[in-house]
């Protein structure tokens, strides 16, 4: 049962990702990214990460894709201005090396014993367990993350303001 769920959800995420990088229209690519993200959210539920699965749907599936679609519509790039996609020699060599690296990384994993299910206790990955971990053990990193987000907001505001004529 879990195996079927894993293969179906993993298939969704991989096929969605493949379609993202092969679409010409950016809006279609964003839609396939949503499919990929929803498959991953299902995998997170399978891994008992309930809160992360929810955040994957809310944060990735909603917020980030809405930002992308909004920007695509703001830019409103005409069809003839979309760049001609042709595979250059350098890109081809890069893809070959990426595939080789993947094979090298995957060989031990594919040969090894896949391992059994996790030995997690009841309530692992629930919101309260995650909150306990954040606020008891990783509080400083959480604060640092807040600073990072504030800096990003200030950066976006500074970048996108109109230049004032002197």
């Amino acid at each position: 049962m879990e195996s079927i769920a894993f293969y179906v959800l993993g298939g969704f995420s991989v096929i969605g990702a493949l379609l993202v990088i092969s679409r010409r229209q950016p809006v279609a690519a964003v839609m396939w990214l949503v499919v990929s993200i929803l498959g991953l959210a299902g995998l997170f539920f399978l891994l008992q990460a309930e809160y992360l699965g929810l955040m994957q749907v809310f944060l990735y599936g909603d917020a980030i894709t809405v930002i992308f679609i909004f920007i695509i519509m703001v830019l409103n790039v005409p069809e003839e201005k979309l760049p001609m996609e042709q595979i250059s020699m350098g890109a081809l060599i890069g893809v070959i090396f990426a595939a080789l690296g993947l094979a090298l990384f995957l060989r031990p994993s594919l040969l090894a014993d896949p391992g059994t299910g996790g030995t997690v206790s009841e309530g692992f990955g629930s919101i309260s367990a995650l909150a306990t971990a954040i606020f008891e053990r990783h509080f400083l990193s959480f604060q640092a993350l807040g600073i990072l987000v504030v800096v990003a907001i200030i950066g976006v505001t500074v970048l996108s303001r109109k230049e004032v004529e002197e």
Binding site: E2, F6, G10, S13, A17, V20, I21, P26, A29, S36, I37, L43, F44, L47, Q48, Y51, L52, M55, Q56, L59, I64, I67, F68, I71, I72, V74, L75, V77, K81, L82, P83, M84, E85, I87, A91, G94, V95, A98, F105, S109, P114, G115, T116, G117, G118, V120, S121, F124, G125, A129, L130, A133, R137, L145, L148, V149, A152, V156, L159, S160
Partner: protein
């Protein structure tokens, strides 16, 4: 048979490499940014699967931080893209070469 940790790691590295190929091959900057999101998704999946199979809550906290990082990155990158499109009127990664000159 239940899926073990290597199943999840294989899936996460597949996603990472698909995103990497997208970054290298595509010229439309919007699609390059989407490919970066796919790469980050692969990294998050690896972190979450380690959290489950090693029973470590810290790895899930790290995955949550990665999601916030991805949101900040998407916002900043898209702001820069809007600025570049306003100034130069191109979305092709090959035509954006102001820094080269």
């Amino acid at each position: 048979m239940e899926p073990g940790i290597s199943h999840f790691l294989v899936l996460s590295s597949l996603l990472f490499v698909i995103g990497l190929v997208g970054v290298m091959v595509r010229r439309n900057v919007l699609i390059v940014l989407l490919s970066i999101e796919i790469m980050l998704n692969g990294a998050i999946l690896a972190s979450v699967s380690f959290a489950y199979f090693q029973a470590m809550m810290g790895a899930q906290v790290f995955a949550l931080f990665l999601m916030a990082l991805a949101a900040a990155e998407a916002g900043l990158a898209l702001a820069i893209l809007v600025l570049v499109y306003r100034k130069q009127g191109v979305v092709s990664a090959d035509d954006i070469q102001l820094l080269k000159q």
